[in-house]
Symmetry: C2
Subunit: 185 residues, 2 copies
């Protein structure tokens, strides 16, 4: 696969294509388990931590533990110690699409100068309040708008974003049904 080495978006595309080739031949290594733990603090405030995961046939770990405080805002009579869970999900979507754009740009030899995204999710909170059974709890719609400054034509930038969307884990998780089981230990 051709890669353009004259651009540098900070993505090691060679390593990714090597991984694709290696894991295609040894697909057991491609089975990953991503994890988070969460501890209730008080009220609607909780703290999630991310550190270990499973992949390439064994237990792996991030360099450090990452923590995410979540809460509800003051207008819901909460203390606003963190973003709301739905805003955290939007952040996950934003970062997944953005990482994809950098990776695909590297592969296609497009030098990025800046990439920003604005995301907005519409929600009728009569759903989560249990006030109207016909209203869903989650977002009715999510809109993502990218603003990209890159050494490429507008159509190539659009194609870059489309390819990132096509390969995005979080886009797929949100756009399509994902089975979730919730149990009590």
């Amino acid at each position: 696969m051709a890669t353009n080495k004259s651009v540098d978006n900070g993505v090691n595309v060679q390593a990714l294509t090597d991984a694709r080739d290696a894991l295609s031949k040894a697909p057991a290594g491609a089975q990953f388990k991503w994890r988070a733990a969460c501890q209730w603090i008080n009220g609607t405030h909780s703290r999630s931590t991310v550190e270990g995961f499973y992949g390439l046939g064994g237990e792996q770990s991030h360099k450090t533990e990452f923590t995410f405080d979540a809460d509800h805002p003051e207008l819901f009579a909460s203390e606003d110690h963190g973003a709301t869970p739905v805003e955290i999900v939007l952040s996950g979507l934003a970062s997944c699409l953005t990482a994809g754009i950098a990776s695909v740009a590297q592969l296609r030899g497009i030098q990025l100068r800046s990439v920003t995204a604005k995301l907005e999710g519409d929600m009728d909170i009569l759903g989560i309040l249990g006030a109207d059974p016909d209203v869903r709890n989650g977002f009715n719609n999510i809109k993502v708008v990218f603003d990209i400054d890159a050494d490429a034509k507008p159509d190539d930038i659009k194609a870059l974003v489309a390819q990132s969307q096509k390969r995005s884990a979080v886009y797929d998780i949100i756009a399509n049904p994902t089975n979730i089981t919730v149990e009590v230990a």
Copy 2:
């Protein structure tokens, strides 16, 4: 609606039931827009910020801006400056269910002592690597296990978790299809 004031999980249930009653009569105020912005840093590293949102008929703001760094781990030849986007999504799911448990427990007069959750999402990364068109990009399955110490019978704790799941915004966003439009400005 009966609430048990002898327990204190830090949730103001009266305010939530008042909000439900008020918004049921004035549903325009229940239309919320939750937002995140994202800036590409380098490689797969990006930073999302959450601050303003729209609701109750006007622009609102968190007390402070919250930021979320995301990246890929070193085994993907990245620099591991943050959790992966999919781990951020798991954190959003964890915190949504946990806030719900605290709220429903308050409403039902159940005193919580501790609530922890462990989440695991299974992913075959041949999907995101583009190595196998039959493999989805996202999670094949998410498992959430709660460990709850509360002043309640096991069946009541299970019912508490089930009710939180039923009203969870993030559970719905992930479990059910959500429309996402991605555009270039």
